[in-house]
């Protein structure tokens, strides 16, 4: 006796299940198949090639009329099931009820739509079915503008498909990098670069605020104020299981319809299958585990034993030319280790994640040929300890011994290319060395080898070691940190020459060997990037040392010190009153006069910082940056205004300089002094920059220090007017900002580059003006009061939770 089987949803999972069922138990069931879409089963994955024009809909149909007929399936396409009557075992569709003995719910999932204003306007589509795909095809005429919200798998396939048809596409993504659930920042960076190459604009960290338009979409407005005009908006921000029928029928539903290992729901006559299910707390978004579910459910219905066990899934992006692969778990977690390989020249990144002796995850970009091999190791949980050293090179190297790098270089013929960027071969380098170039810089100067992207520096050094033998002293300038072989100088040079504008970009293009850098390189990179690209780069707070991140000096007990700016060391009774009030209000344990002519409030608790800043801001004071690798103070004497020896207005000039320079970030702290005459009461000649006023004008001297080293400044230039003092000082600070390595004070940097070179730069009127202009451009971005900004969001400064109260209850 055949039983009635009703299937709701003709999707990828149910199609596969029916195939297995007719094979395992032919004739056991009379099947009725409902589908809300006005068509039968097709390969949903392949909508992307349909969108891009590489395939047609007919090519992606998986089951046609003839097949349904041969299996005796009653098809009710274009008809949504509206209710399930569990008592009577009947499902209700628009065109009448159908009784069932067994019921399968395979309703897939529904796209998630962010309910921003305008989300219902015509022209806003999701990406789920053929209707959506056709809407995008219609809208993608050359020159049309499309905005895709969501930079995950679906969003990017939608974007690439529309771009392939000639539309101008912008992707707005909430997170810091694309496909953050499958990719780490390094791979996300490479993906973004490839998509941008094909003209797709990517806006990360973008939150959609409103979709604008009268009768249909016209533009998308983001929280940060950016507006992108749009003829079509595709929302691809995620999916949620389609559980409405199951909910109404009173089945057990968590996020998805709860199923057991046999795909049975809480009602023994009802099964669920596909993306609408939740198994053991897990939801599904890729097809591979759903095919396993289909097999299990077919067996269950046929009366056989089978149990569903979710498998690992791997992701690939179906965009031609964007080669990425991600599988397993790549999150940082206890006891995990990374193996990283980067080939910047070819845009390749590979990262393996190991836990104990097993491979548990892999992320790859650019070269994914070994993906299947790694995926297999992840799935089987094979012990990889024996191959560990060569694992990342894939099956080609498996089992081989790691080679001695020097021997490998020795074996290279003279015509072998060492430096890809400049086409320099081994023979040219040996000849240069034999001709007398014994340092890396000399070889670089003569041959250009390693002068561009620098990744071959190690190779060049190995050629030198081979040629010079014991005469080779490895680069005396050590690498920046353990994460890279590059020196600070190389990194600075390459950031500019290669146009690198983000920390992941630097780490990828310069072959960082760690995933997220370390506490030493991250602040340096953050500084280099903001100094070189003031308009494009966005400061990364998490890459700053605590003092700069919190805009206050941390003290040994974890409290902070707060120092408001006192321009040129001059204050007023009102300011003093405000400081005194703040000290009272926040129980400041110590109020101290600093060496830089200001007042320090010591011992402030972190959660009080926003409030005390806000009080001081209200009294007209701003941050003194006493914590900053930036301009600290300008110390002045009273000068001409009061002192009988004063030759110029040293106080006024000091204030003017401080107002010019404050807020600028520099490689290390910068302090200035301005004295009104050579008696030098402001101690200007032991500052980073000291101005001494004389009858005829101003002596600008630099490179002093009064710390671990004590140095007297040396004269840079003598100028006649205050305006010139300002221009020269700004230009000199900019020269320092652009060239010094992070944490080098001015005196250390001048020792390296020579005072004469500095003087040449700031004496030449054109160079000086250009430096000055670049400084002012940077100031237009960075001369803002961090206190005002942070005081507006005090919640971020307190504990996120307080359990001491809970215990007291």
């Amino acid at each position: 006796m055949t039983k009635n089987l009703v299937v709701i949803g003709a999707g990828m999972a149910s199609g596969r299940m029916l195939e297995h069922l007719f094979e395992a138990a032919p004739g056991a069931f009379t099947v009725t198949l409902f589908n809300a879409e006005p068509r039968g089963n097709y390969n949903r994955l392949m909508l992307s090639p349909v969108l891009s024009g590489e395939k047609t809909y007919d090519q992606i149909v998986t089951h046609d009329e003839a097949w349904y007929e041969a299996q005796g399936i009653t098809t009710r396409f274009g008809e949504a099931v509206t209710a399930i009557d569990r008592e009577a075992q009947i499902v209700h569709g628009a065109r009448g009820p159908v009784p069932y003995d067994a019921l399968v719910i395979a309703t897939g999932s529904a796209p998630f739509i962010i309910p921003v204003p305008g989300h219902r306007l015509p022209g806003v589509v999701a990406y789920r079915d053929l209707e959506d795909t056709n809407a995008m095809i219609d809208a993608s005429r050359p020159g049309a503008r499309a905005v895709v919200i969501g930079g995950g798998l679906l969003g990017l396939e939608a974007a690439a498909g529309m771009a392939a048809r000639g539309a101008e596409v912008t992707v707005i993504h909430l997170m810091g990098h694309l496909m953050e659930r499958q990719l780490d920042p390094a791979a996300g960076y490479l993906l973004q670069k490839d998509l941008e190459k094909r003209g797709i604009r990517i806006h990360c960290k973008g939150a959609t605020k409103v979709i604008l338009g009268q009768d249909r979409v016209e533009a998308v407005l983001l929280e940060d104020g950016t507006v992108y005009p749009a003829d079509l908006v595709c929302m691809a921000v995620g999916i949620r299981p389609e559980t409405r029928l199951a909910n109404d029928a009173g089945l057990e539903v968590a996020r998805g319809i709860t199923v057991d290992d046999q795909m049975r729901t809480s009602d023994p006559a009802i099964y669920a299958l596909g993306e609408c299910t939740e198994h053991d707390g897990q939801l599904f978004g890729l097809v591979a585990p759903l095919y396993d579910q289909a097999k299990v459910l077919a067996a269950t219905l046929a009366g056989d034993q089978a149990a569903f066990r979710p498998v690992q899934t791997a992701t690939k992006l179906k965009v031609t030319g964007c080669d990425l692969f991600s599988a397993g778990d790549f999150a940082d977690a206890p006891g995990r280790e990374d193996i990283v390989f980067r080939d910047p020249g070819r845009g390749i990144y590979k990262r393996l994640i190991l836990e104990g002796e097993r491979l548990i995850g892999a992320v790859m970009y650019g070269d994914t040929a070994d993906g299947a091999w790694f995926f297999d190791k992840i799935r089987t949980g094979a012990d990889v300890t024996a191959d560990r050293d060569t694992l990342i090179f894939g099956p080609a190297f498996a089992g081989g011994a790691p080679s001695d790098p020097l021997a490998a270089v020795a074996a290279l013929p003279p015509e072998a290319e060492i430096c890809g960027c400049n086409g320099v071969c081994k023979g040219q380098i040996t000849r240069a060395i034999e001709g007398g170039a014994t340092t890396l810089d000399a070889v670089r100067g003569l041959t250009k080898a390693s002068a561009s992207c620098g990744t071959c520096t190690g190779l060049v050094e190995q050629v030198m070691a081979l040629t010079l033998g014991d005469g080779f002293a490895a680069n005396a300038n050590p690498p920046m940190c353990k994460c890279t072989d590059h020196t600070h100088e190389d990194v600075r040079r390459l950031i500019k020459s290669m146009g690198l504008k983000s920390i992941p970009a630097v780490m990828q293009e310069l072959g960082w060997t760690t995933v997220g850098g370390c506490a030493s390189c991250r602040p340096a990179l953050n500084y280099y990037l903001l100094a070189d690209w003031p308009l494009e780069y966005r400061d990364d707070r998490q890459s700053r040392f605590v003092n700069e991140r919190n805009h206050a000096n941390i003290q040994k007990d974890g409290t902070y010190s707060v120092v408001p700016r006192m321009w040129g060391g001059v204050t007023t009774p009102d300011e003093l009153r405000a400081i005194a009030d703040a000290a009272d209000r926040y129980n400041v344990p110590m109020v101290k006069v600093t060496g830089g002519q200001r007042i320090d409030l010591l011992g402030v608790r972190k959660e009080d910082l926003p409030a005390i800043w806000s009080d001081l801001n209200d009294a007209g004071m701003v941050s003194g940056h006493a914590y900053a690798k930036g301009l600290r103070t300008v110390k002045t004497c009273v000068g001409q205004q009061f002192c009988r020896f004063g030759t110029q207005d040293s106080t006024g000039l000091g204030i003017r300089l401080e107002k010019l320079l404050w807020g600028s970030w520099t490689p290390a702290k910068v302090k200035l002094g301005v004295s009104g005459c050579p008696r030098n009461c402001a101690e200007a000649t032991c500052k980073d920059i000291g101005i001494v006023c004389v009858d005829s004008g101003f002596q600008i001297s630099v490179a002093g220090a009064a710390g671990m080293d004590v140095r007297e400044t040396v004269l840079l230039l003598t100028v006649a007017t205050e305006d010139e003092v300002c221009e020269v000082t700004a230009a000199f600070v900019q020269l320092y900002r652009e060239n010094a390595r992070y944490l080098h004070r001015i005196y250390k940097w001048v020792d390296k580059v020579g005072l004469d070179w500095c003087r040449e730069q700031v004496s030449d009127p054109a160079t000086r003006a250009a430096l000055h202009d670049r400084f002012m451009l940077s100031q237009s971005v960075f001369q803002t009061d961090p206190w005002a900004d942070h005081a507006a969001r005090p919640a971020e400064w307190s504990p996120i939770a307080d359990l001491s109260l809970r215990a007291a209850e």
Binding site: A331, G516, Q542, V546, R549, I554, D802
Partner: protein
């Protein structure tokens, strides 16, 4: 274990930390670049520095006071430095952070 809902994952910046106050002292909740979450006592075993203010890189944090580096999973100091910070069980569920506070809320401990 008694897992207590502390806050939303989104309340902590990536590669950053926030603090939970408890009767046993502050606990730092860290979030890595890949959204892994760790909970450690907010006191460096060296001289008591607030680890929550350190720079987070990978699964390590560097103390802001004298640059000791700790593995956040084990609490173990790295390299030549010797010391260990207490860790606490913590997990993320549906975007919320759950902290095992059994040890932290008992005043007797």
């Amino acid at each position: 274990m008694s897992m207590i809902d502390i806050a939303a994952l989104a309340d902590i910046p990536r590669e950053g930390a926030r603090v939970v106050r408890t009767p046993q002292g502050c606990v730092a909740i860290f979030r890595t670049a890949t959204d892994q979450v760790f909970a450690l006592d907010d006191r460096c075993p060296h001289k008591g520095g607030p680890l929550s203010e350190g720079i987070v890189h990978g699964t390590q944090v560097t103390c802001p006071l004298h640059n000791w580096v700790f593995d956040m999973a084990t609490g173990q100091a790295q390299g030549a430095d010797e010391g260990r910070v207490a860790t606490h069980a913590v997990q993320v569920r549906d975007g919320r952070i759950l902290l095992d506070a059994a040890r932290l809320t008992s005043r007797a401990a």
